[in-house]
């Protein structure tokens, strides 16, 4: 997990296209420039980055269902709950599930757990757009492939 680069997912542990569920893991880094401001002497992962983590897990799942032909972009957050503080070195389990596949959009439910306890959850809406460039499409496909190879 590299907060400064919005790399929120370390590894993908399972993608189930029949159930339309994806599981992933991340560990919050010991240090980050984000923690210098949030908050000095009391490092906490900002809630927006917890939402982003669930959005990335959801987005990668959606891309799997459409064979990486388009890119899902976060358009809405509903029932977003940040249930506990998350600090450095915390191991996170992220789960995303597709609730609805619409025409040009998708709705997911996602959650993050730490040591089995749910620390965040939300319903997320995505618009599904053409990739702005083949270069970005290739880069994202490679990043996802790398996430699947990461050792636990």
């Amino acid at each position: 997990m590299l907060l400064e680069y919005f790399q929120m997912i370390d590894r993908i542990t399972n993608v189930d296209l029949e159930e339309k569920v994806m599981l992933a893991q991340s560990t919050v880094p010991e240090e980050s420039t984000v923690f210098e401001g949030h908050f000095p002497g009391h490092p906490l992962v900002p809630g927006v980055l917890m939402i982003e983590t669930m959005a990335q897990c959801s987005g990668i799942l959606i891309m799997h269902t459409i064979d990486f032909t388009k890119i899902p972009l976060l358009a809405g957050v509903k029932e977003g709950k940040l249930r506990d503080f998350v600090g450095p070195r915390t191991a996170l389990e992220i789960k995303a599930e597709i609730e609805h596949e619409g025409s040009g959009f998708a709705v997911t439910r996602a959650e993050i757990r730490s040591q089995g306890k749910r620390v965040a959850n939300a319903q997320l809406t995505f618009t599904i757009m053409p990739f702005p460039s083949e270069e970005l499409q290739g880069m994202i496909k490679q990043q996802v492939a790398d996430m699947k190879k990461q050792p636990a």
């Binding site: 596949e101 025409s103 040009g104 959009f105 809406t125």
Partner: protein, 91 residues
Amino acid sequence: MSTFDKVADIISETSEIPREEITPDSHTIDDLGIDSLDFLDIVFAIDKEFGIKIPLEAWTQEVNDGKASTEEYFVMKNLVAKIDELIAAKA
């Protein structure tokens, strides 16, 4: 309850538009002022309510390509007629 009433209720609840302002001749964008994100929420709710998949991408493409007017898809009575067609096709 008619399809129109169900759709109008969904729009009213999703977009906080007073139910009485939604008539068969209301243009969902021009008259009711529904923006694209609220429209996604509305389509999501309609899809779920009726067990259909509104082909929003195709409709938008047709409008953007000049092959259809926004009235054809986004005036309430026309939208409801399209939804009824999708429900009938599903049966």
